[in-house]
Symmetry: D3
Subunit: 246 residues, 6 copies
């Protein structure tokens, strides 16, 4: 797979994005999402088995799982097979699920479970935001595949699009879409999830053994808004006439 080229970037520039829908066939939605060298295979699988606490209510659920393949990093990352997910994995997959559900109309989905699996094939920073942005596309494709079976076929189960991006403070500068090296050097790291219409879904800003001031926060939020707008355009382009929003 010819990797998307790595050029010197301006601090407010996204890494090049490459999207391949229907990368595999077994899952209803399957998107290979690449931002720079970060590569995530996002699949969305549909099941009639909703979680037991939701059964019989006529509503659906969307959940997500996240994992990094062992070969996605150097040195190799051990598999999480010992029955204990590390905290980072748990946090990320909860974030992905919450972000997708924030724009979902779970009643319009009917009694169905959609599981969005985000498996990182190569990790170079921003795997969680790539998972959200790419997972949203896989979700759209999965929803189209069951469109006729929905309770009300005219009512699409999503009300807005979702994209995510990271921003941070690196060596005193405010930087968009950090790669691994930038992330490792950042004093503040913030992940922002927003809708295509510009509303916040989630803000997570963390001082990495550091703290930050009001105006740092303001600059990072501004840059994140710009990045999300650009990602929304890219998503729209990738989906073409499958884009379900006005």
């Amino acid at each position: 797979m010819p990797s998307a080229e790595q050029k010197p970037r301006r601090p407010n520039e996204l890494r090049p994005v490459r999207i391949r829908r229907r990368f595999t066939r077994a899952a209803a939605g399957s998107v290979l999402y690449q931002a720079g060298r970060t590569t995530v295979l996002c699949t969305a699988s549909v099941s009639d088995q909703v979680p037991s606490w939701l059964a019989g209510q006529g509503r659906g659920w969307i959940t997500a799982e996240y994992s990094m393949l062992p070969g996605s990093t150097a040195p190799r990352k051990s598999r999480e097979r010992d029955g204990r997910l590390d905290g980072r994995t748990t946090e990320i997959q909860r974030l992905i699920g919450r972000s997708l559900r924030a724009v979902a109309d779970l009643a319009a989905l009917g009694e169905r479970l959609i599981t969005v699996d985000c498996d990182v094939l190569e990790a170079d920073g921003g795997t969680r935001t790539a998972s959200i942005t790419g997972g949203f596309l896989a979700l759209i494709d999965a929803l189209h595949s069951i469109e006729r079976a929905l309770p009300d076929p005219g009512r699409f189960p999503l009300c807005d699009s979702v994209a995510a991006v990271s921003v941070g403070q690196v060596a005193g500068a405010t930087v968009l879409d950090l790669d691994y090296q930038q992330d490792a050097a950042a004093s503040v790291d913030m992940n922002v999830v927003m809708t295509g219409r510009g509303r916040f879904i989630e803000i997570q800003g963390t001082g990495e053994e550091s703290t930050f001031a009001d105006d740092d926060l303001e600059r990072m939020l501004q840059l994140a808004r710009q990045g999300i707008r650009r990602l929304t355009e890219i998503q729209r382009g990738a989906l073409g006439r499958r884009w379900p929003f006005a």
Copy 2:
């Protein structure tokens, strides 16, 4: 234990706080922290065994663990004994640890591990912010107990205080320090960790199957800043002459 009284509160008012230092004797720091009916026992234990990845570097580490006792809620909460921490527990204890380390001078601590255990005896909303605010006090007491054994006794291993509070959008209003019922009804929930000098350590804002706009964010941050200032005064009062900052 006579519970701190539950009065009708204004949206910008904290719940009554009650602090009992040296609640138990075995741990170097032991604080029973109560905010309304939320009650957390925070202990700080000192050990010479730093994590293996830190050994031999002359630096210390501060970590945290969080747990809810089964009887802290009704209905009873099952113990997390099956080797799988739920995601919420993992997220919270990572947040507490990061927050305390953000103001720590780990070199000044020497090669030591301090573990801050936050065990929730009763849960009525805001247990993670109570754990941070109370855990900070237990940490201070533990640090004073080893003050003479520090590498440089004149250099206290913390550079600022830490407190945390929740804010949210409940029924259209912006509310400070949500109790369980308010939290369950909130459309947006935000936890803010700040230092006594007013810098951010962590912002985590989440739309609960909902989204929020720029001005919602601004109002919540303003209320959080006020709450943190008041909590910092309460912490200062509880520590008296043990307050290590100017």
Copy 3:
């Protein structure tokens, strides 16, 4: 919490006992039980979900769980979160459950599960006997809270009270209610659980890499009987008019 004073004790004297009922509010029964520095929070939670092997028989069940908080000892005790309870924890919680059930009328309880959680806040010897003696009080309070919902409100689901105490051989002497230092030095350690009417529920006597003779056994049993009588009076005093026995 001002600790109950530690005075020099005679070998046949109990440590000072302090009991605070309704220490927390979420659980139906909640007792902070203190014997010397040993402090246990005992809560009793009521549920309609009996174990599956008991379902549909119209009878109830009483079970117990025991745990030591990490900060209850120095050095700090690791949490039992890896899915493997150590043998000591398992033995103790089985003993607490058996002891409480020995005086219970499980048919009079109706199809209900009562879980007595004994969480040790500070450990200075005798945590299992404190858990039984204090757990009995939490159980009583929980039963009173559901008294009107019982199958036959006039038939209280307990037929006798329960208390427990340790005795041992320390440096040749027979000693009552061993604290941690005495327990570590004992050649024989015996835990005795009895009813308020003076019948045995459980006797567990163990030579600690040692053996003991018939007359050692006799002296220890005699001392235990005295201790249990005194503890029963203390329990009765703490419950006042809630004491359900003649």
Copy 4:
């Protein structure tokens, strides 16, 4: 294997005992111990790897593990393979280990670990007491096999023999050596471990949802002493000139 015959027994009579030493060859000691239909394979394995907390002290350790084969009961018993030993298994193997160590001279053993495995091939009540009585014989054979390698070959690492038996109250009568049916019907169940010289190692008496009085206790202890004396004679006969005591 022709089972030892099951005849009507008097309440103070042991079940027939059958002992086969060197039942297998891989382990240093290997005894097939049969009491009535209860059949336990006890092996004792010697290793130079003492537990880490004992390393470098020149002393040894004796530990025990207990397990029931799935086919040992009807209905079949599931294997304990899920990483969670049930409480009963844990209690029993701790009891076996403590009982054998009570007569051991661990310094005379040198820096060695002896593991006594008690695997129940068929279970008909009294498996823990059979494990102790048979495990003692396997331990003796293992010790003889390393006798020349001991720090002081003239100092045998055991100072007394160990045997165990159950007693109980069944339908108002005091009964020795309960089989499964008697055990299931007993209101009080007591396991007694004693040395060949008549000293107690362990007493565990439990009212099974029942209580017992002083004179019940006395009668049970008397019967247990008789049973232990008889078992000690049987052990002595099985070992012949290998019996290391006067």
Copy 5:
């Protein structure tokens, strides 16, 4: 147990086999199977609880579990109690189950589960093939015990017998029925499972950090066929009039 004698064997000679049916009584079938020093207790237990995926179809299931007792080897083998079966154990018990099911008429069994437990009391090579050959005998005895309760008593639920044997390349020679020392020295190791009528059920040939040629394969298969024929005669002799085949 007097071990079957170990004589010098020819490469095409089986180790001496000793079979004791009804070794224990709790399980419906119980066979102590010995090949040289390798000793396996095979029990077959009958239950009405078929696996959930088979429920309600009127068909039965046969499954197997395999385990080595800790004392079966020197040095002692740790128990697999940590919730993770090693790969070898998993492979072996799946092989045993598949082999027995290959000759089973699961509809003729009715809605029943038969579990064949193969517990290795002593291991000297060939424990998996001994488990299959001995487990088949335990299965036969268990089936006879329920013969009258079968859906069609005239239709025995097995259509052929099963036996297994190992062959290998050791020091250039083709050898039958490898003991532990031969197995450790083999460059190729092959396990063959066949029916009494001479059809293959399973062939597993593995180069041990080595490879093998066509004619090696042919010689090994020929030797295996001879071994299986002899084992089938031994099985037939052990069962006598219980042999259900022509």
Copy 6:
């Protein structure tokens, strides 16, 4: 990713193979291997940490792990995160590791661990043989990347190539390279691993609730040999001048 076309195949024809080397960059070897719709990402990671039992011997080790992504099948396959690998996974990853080691010169590798991870992105039968055939290519690429650091750069650590293919009996016919539907319908399923020079590494033939005769075996082996020859040519083509054999 445009899938390799699925045409009607003759029984002795392989599915179309597609190979993309350097699919990701973090791992030293990374091959996307596709046989029909079966797609496996094989990465080979190099580490200086050999398993502890091999440390200090100057020799290396090659191991493999196998996993199916949840979205690789419909319905979705749950992740094996509960600490218990299912037996199939364990068998497959042991087989892959053994197969690669059979042609390896572990001394020529130096004290290094190479881990070959085979993650199935889409599963349509034959995932284990695809993993071996593709994993071999990733291994070659990883070895070339460290060629200069080998103990003896002129001595390549592999002596032959490895490929694997399945054969089976489907509806009476002998078929090569079974896809999922054929595999589900097969009465006999055999996996054969061979070297490029035509020697066997592993043969695993299993009657699926069925048995097979000598001539069935012969026909399957013949078809497998042909398939392996063709796969070896394809491997050679994909590696070009990187093919290290004559």
